[in-house]
């Protein structure tokens, strides 16, 4: 069986949840082989083995971290040319998509981005994508070269299945041409203590209706163990950082439960959350378009409804 390469998403070796999801999808199509870029593979090995990686290719070169995107694409292209995988799965982050785009050109291969499902079909790989703000589902496949597919977080529930995770060092040669966009400074994002927005099972978000005060939104999120998001209106007003924006120009989330509070539900916002499994909204305006999407809605002031709901959730949790 051919290998399916999975580009590992990690911070200093700490593997992110998307990697487990990609390994699970890879196993449907071939032998999942993790591709680890960096020097801290020791930290990552246990998680990679637990989610079924049969092999772990380690690509370690200072240029991979010193310059933007190009060296990673070059390294991955060299590995693809050597191992001839059945497909390459890459997380659908900004960087992941850019690596995939450059790899597609180098490897003369078709690219599919933002897949929400990957299955084996007709001796190849078939993907499902959710497009036009989640209004359409598209089935597609790659017809040339090695299928290069970026996969959205939360596309599958990771399955624990022991893998050998046999480490193989792969030496890469990064060209001078790939070392032209130098990263001169890196400031790690401060931890919020809450789940990562795109990976969270529950997301509670706030919009214009918060009036700039996210206290009630955050308290409700914490009661549910949820991540906190914000609408574009709230971010543009400077009430919440852009990295928490949900919508067309922010993050796309697809949690099991999405709670929109004080958010009207414009198309720009819906594009980022419409595929959530269960949708709940709290809004003062009974005519807000968000209520067209909800499974459950409360017409009311979030500043009254959320604290009461928070207390009730905590009481039930005991």
């Amino acid at each position: 069986m051919s290998e399916v390469l999975v580009l590992v998403d990690h911070v200093d070796g700490e593997v992110r949840k998307t990697t487990a999801e990609l390994l699970t999808l890879a196993a449907r199509v071939g032998e999942p082989a993790a591709v680890f870029m960096g020097s801290q593979v020791d930290v990552a090995l246990e998680a990679l083995a637990r989610f079924g990686a049969t092999k772990v290719y380690v690509l370690d070169d200072a240029a991979l971290g010193d310059f933007l995107v190009a060296p990673k694409a070059e390294a991955l292209a060299q590995l693809v040319a050597t191992t001839l995988p059945a497909a390459v799965l890459i997380p659908s982050s900004a960087e992941g998509k850019e690596i995939a785009g450059r790899l597609a050109i180098k490897a003369e291969s078709g690219i599919i981005t933002d897949a929400v499902d990957v299955v084996a079909a007709y001796g190849g790989v078939q993907t499902t994508q959710s497009v036009f703000a989640g209004n359409f589902t598209v089935t597609a496949s790659v017809t040339k070269g090695t299928p290069i597919i970026t996969v959205k977080p939360n596309s599958v529930t990771p399955i624990e299945i022991a893998g050998a995770a046999e480490v193989e060092t792969f030496t890469v040669e990064i060209s001078e041409a790939a070392k032209t966009a130098r990263i001169v400074e890196r400031q790690p994002r401060e931890a919020t203590g809450r789940p990562e927005l795109t990976e969270a099972a529950i997301v509670v978000s706030g919009g214009r209706g918060t009036g700039g005060d996210f206290t009630a939104v955050e308290a409700f999120a914490d009661a549910l163990g949820a991540a906190v998001g914000a609408s574009r209106a709230a971010v543009d007003s400077g009430w919440y950082p852009h990295s928490f924006q949900i919508g067309q120009t922010g993050k796309t989330v697809s949690p099991r439960l999405y709670v929109a509070t004080g958010i009207s539900g414009a198309i720009q916002h819906r594009a980022g959350m419409q595929t959530s499994q269960t949708i709940v909204a709290v809004n003062k305006d009974a005519e807000a378009p968000i209520f067209e999407l909800v499974d459950f809605g409360v017409v009311g002031d979030l500043k009254k409804v959320l604290p009461q709901a928070t207390d009730e959730v905590l009481r039930r949790k005991g």
Partner: protein
């Protein structure tokens, strides 16, 4: 600094967007189109850079006849001239072919900086800027939430998932900007009038030396086999808060096993 800005004409997201049943491509004729909102940030950034130094902004688009609208809007905002690559052979092109055509057009244009938006609002793949950098051999400084030009050095701030990075490169470079980078200007009446006199060239594949077999639906390296409208969500339960709204919300979450 001479700047080429790549823009896309897209179906209006606030209208009905769909696919053509005949070949599973995006229906571009049956819906109203406009300049992709995210490209306005690239135009604004280009105008700011040339206004602070010198040089010209050329706006470049690849698309059917109606895509000329995106060029016109860009000229109204203040771009100096336009190039529209228009050829029937382009219908159904994927991102790989689109980047090939854009790259060949950019080679013919004077450029210190190539500027793009962070994504189109229709396909929203976000891969074309990276593909252009790959094809043109340009340093890639992308997803910029802030751009500074200092002599020949372009420095950007990139707000990633795990970290904020400052990235630097020397011209010629490829830059893409996010919607955090600036506040795009509206075309002024003067700008709208002036745009009518600005030069727009229309190029074909032959003008670029691109063979028709390299582009279009038949040459695409991916294939859409089916599309399906998402079933409408069934109407949910809506309650009005009369003092118990919060408790009702918590009860609902409990019945759904979220609590």
């Amino acid at each position: 600094m001479n700047i080429v800005v790549c823009v896309k004409h897209v179906p209006d997201a606030t209208g009905e967007r769909t696919f053509s049943a005949a070949d599973n491509t995006v229906d571009r004729a049956g819906s109203d189109g406009l300049l992709s909102e995210l490209d306005e940030y690239a135009i604004e950034e280009a105008l700011k850079i040339t206004e602070a130094s010198d040089g010209e902004v050329t706006v470049l688009t690849v698309g059917p006849e109606q895509a000329a609208h995106a060029v016109r809007k860009s000229l109204q905002m203040g771009a100096h001239k336009g190039v529209h690559v228009c050829d029937e052979g382009l219908h159904g092109s994927d991102s790989v072919a689109t980047s090939l055509v854009l790259a060949e057009a950019i080679r013919k244009l004077d450029h210190d900086i190539v500027l793009c938006g962070m994504a189109s609002t229709d396909g929203s793949m976000s891969v074309v800027p990276a593909m252009l950098a790959e094809r043109l051999g340009l340093p890639q400084v992308t997803f910029a939430s802030e751009v500074t030009v200092d002599g020949d050095t372009v420095r950007i701030r990139r707000d990633g998932d795990a970290a904020t990075e400052i990235v630097e490169a020397s011209v010629p470079v490829l830059v893409s900007v996010t919607d955090q980078s600036n506040e795009p200007r509206y075309p002024s009446f003067k700008g709208i009038m002036a745009a009518k006199k600005k030069p727009v060239e229309t190029w074909t594949l032959a003008d670029l030396g691109v063979d028709a077999s390299q582009v279009g639906l038949d040459a695409a390296w991916t294939r859409v086999s089916a599309f399906e409208a998402r079933p409408p969500r069934t109407a949910g339960q809506i309650v009005t808060d009369e003092g118990e709204g919060g408790v009702q919300l918590a009860e609902y979450l409990a019945t759904q096993k979220f609590v």
